[in-house]
């Protein structure tokens, strides 16, 4: 009843005392934020815009230094440099293998930490924290010391091992965060209905923590494909995409690098937009 009368009542005009000085100051403040924000966004995007634009550069020599006109040739010739293509393929397969291993191991650790209270869980958390907090140079140098001392040749598989080592903790932390929010009685309900631990895991727990697992896996993949420092210590003669770009940056980066960078960038953006849209749809 009270609600109805309120709806019918016309809105009262509110008298506002004019405060001229305050309003002028507020207008200035209103401009400062967006101007600074957009300047920073511009600054952050500058090298990316340059990378994309110079992927369309009609270079004459081997190097991509001056703007010489628009062409799509570099896109047709993306795989024109064999050593660069090999480096990209190496990076992609290493990232796939390392992500698979790190996701399985990290998910198990994250489940244990998110679901159970057990003796020693604190030390596991500390181990994860130390692993994430340790400087990359030190992680790389320590692994190299071990491989040198034990006379293990470095190459493809030592890179995979290193990548699992530094991305596992990120997966574990992401999955744990998801696991904490899940009602343990769902698990018990599945058990009461006669499901064994394995069926319970695949039919109940895993679907529930799947967003966390996927986010962790994406993070692991991104970390792996982007890593330079730890890889450079443990690569031996194997060349990954970042190692190739680093080597080329001293002499001049071929336009194919710009093209591959642009394509990886576009792929990452598409995945992010897809994730963004699907998470928004889930909320609604």
């Amino acid at each position: 009843m009270a609600l109805q009368t309120e709806v019918v009542r016309p809105p009262e005009p509110v008298a506002r005392p004019p405060v001229p000085t305050r309003r002028r100051r507020r207008v200035n403040g209103r401009w400062a934020g967006p101007v600074w924000g957009w300047l920073v966004i511009l600054w952050l995007s500058t090298p990316i815009i340059v990378m994309i634009v110079f992927g369309f550069n009609n270079t004459t020599g081997k190097f991509n230094i001056r703007w010489q006109g628009f062409t799509l040739r570099n896109y047709r010739n993306v795989f024109g440099i064999q050593s660069l293509t090999d480096a990209l393929v190496t990076s992609l397969t290493i990232a796939a293998v390392a992500t698979a291993i790190a996701t399985v191991l990290g998910t198990l650790v994250g489940m244990a930490l998110g679901k159970y209270r057990f003796r020693g869980s604190g030390s596991v958390t500390l181990l994860l924290f130390a692993n994430v907090a340790a400087p990359e140079v030190v992680l790389g140098a320590a692994m190299l010391s071990m491989f040198l001392t034990l006379n293990i040749p470095r190459g493809y598989w030592t890179i995979v091992i290193a990548h699992v080592m530094f991305s596992l903790a990120y997966v574990a932390v992401t999955v744990r965060a998801r696991m904490v929010g899940i009602d343990p009685s769902l698990d018990e309900a599945a058990r009461d209905l006669g499901a064994g631990p394995i069926v319970t895991f695949f039919k109940v727990t895993l679907p529930l923590i799947m967003p966390g697992v996927l986010a962790g896996a994406l993070l692991a993949f991104a970390l792996s494909i982007d890593d330079y420092i730890i890889t450079s210590f443990n690569a031996g003669n194997t060349v990954t995409f970042p190692l190739y770009v680093y080597g080329a940056s001293r002499t001049g980066v071929p336009p194919q690098v710009n093209v591959m960078g642009t394509l990886i960038f576009a792929f990452g953006v598409l995945v992010a937009i897809y994730g963004f849209i699907s998470s928004r749809r889930q909320k609604v």
């Binding site: 403040g29 209103r30 400062a32 934020g33 967006p34 600074w36 924000g37 920073v40 966004i41 952050l44 500058t46 090298p47 340059v50 230094i65 399985v104 191991l105 198990l108 650790v109 489940m111 244990a112 159970y116 057990f118 596991v124 181990l127 907090a133 340790a134 400087p135 990359e136 140079v137 030190v138 140098a141 320590a142 692994m143 010391s145 071990m146 040198l148 001392t149 091992i161 290193a162 699992v164 080592m165 596992l168 574990a172 932390v173 965060a177 494909i225 982007d226 420092i229 450079s232 210590f233 995409f241 970042p242 770009v245 680093y246 080329a248 940056s249 960078g261 990886i264 953006v269 963004f276």
Partner: protein, 310 residues
């Protein structure tokens, strides 16, 4: 009394069922250990053991031809420090300057998005993070390309006569610190944004009702509430910045900008002096990890980790 004592004891459950139940209880208490075991082993073998081996290598003597022998030669540490303290100090100074720049540049942006972003908050944040979908090395080498001596910026400035003919940006501390700030600023903006986003706008209205002007409201209400975000950002930025060597070698490259990461790399791959390299790595890790733990303890681990986790 007598009735209870003389009453026959409750029949024990059949032994097989008891064993099964006991086993299932034991399985359940052991379950977290089985889950943690594989990941724990991986980290133990490829993270903890290498660091122990590196500690052992750091006190060896010898050379690459005759091999290295364990002689507990602890003066590798003092030698490393006296030889490379300039680079250690430079790395920490660059790290501090770049971290401070990240706060100064990033805080207003985080504030703008959190309080003025309105419906576009996520889009603005996405736009801000977009560049970081590109590989770290490509981003850095793109700056090298932009700022190079005959590149688009410097040659233009020379044509306009704004700078002298031997002016250059690369190979200066300015370029290296700029690159470091650029590459690590999202690790500062994100935690600050998360902290600011949690600030209830009603608190600002309340402070305005209590006659606080905008500056006072910011200093007394918003800033204290966002400090955990800044602390987390510093934690996430300072360690990778001061141990980085990619920026120093792509954008710096001259002697005056060498950071300690470059020295570690040179000792391993050019000088093949593994004990010295191990000792330097250990000093670096000790400085940074002790710093991180003191920092976390001083400011409350919970708060910093919580903010970092978000």
């Amino acid at each position: 009394m007598t009735a209870t004592t003389t009453a026959p004891p409750v029949a024990p459950p059949p032994p097989a069922a008891a064993r099964a139940r006991r086993r299932s209880v034991r399985m359940r208490t052991l379950a977290p250990y089985w889950l943690v075991l594989p990941g724990w082993l991986w980290l133990a073998i490829f993270f903890v053991v290498p660091i122990v081996i590196m500690l052992s290598v750091s006190t060896m003597t010898g050379n690459i031809q005759d091999g290295f022998k364990q002689t507990f030669h602890w003066s590798n540490y003092s030698d490393a420090w006296s030889q490379y303290h300039v680079q250690f100090v430079r790395s920490l100074v660059y790290g501090a300057i770049a971290t401070a720049l990240c706060i100064v540049i990033g805080y207003p942006v985080a504030y703008w998005i959190a309080f003025r972003g309105g419906a576009h908050k996520s889009s603005l944040l996405f736009l801000l993070l977009l560049p970081f979908f590109v590989s770290f090395v490509i981003r850095t080498s793109s700056w090298n390309f932009i700022l190079s001596d005959n590149g688009m910026v410097v040659s233009r400035l020379k044509d306009w006569g704004w700078v002298g003919q031997n002016f250059h940006i690369l190979q200066t501390p300015f370029a290296v610190i700029g690159g470091l700030t650029y590459n690590f600023i999202p690790f500062m903006i994100l935690p600050i944004y998360v902290a600011l986003e949690r600030v209830d706008p009603a608190l600002l209205e309340a402070s305005a009702d209590l006659y606080a002007n905008k500056a006072t409201a910011f200093l007394r209400v918003v800033l204290p509430l966002s400090i955990p975000g800044v602390f987390a950002g510093v934690l996430l930025t300072f360690v990778p910045v001061s141990s980085d060597y990619v920026n120093a070698s792509i954008l710096g490259g001259s002697k005056g900008t060498t950071m300690i990461g470059n020295i570690i790399q040179t000792q391993y791959f050019t000088n093949l002096n593994y004990p010295s390299a191990a000792a330097i790595s250990f000093i670096l890790m000790a400085i940074l990890l002790v710093g991180v733990f003191l920092y976390a303890r001083l400011l409350g681990t919970e708060e910093v980790l919580e903010a970092a986790g978000n």
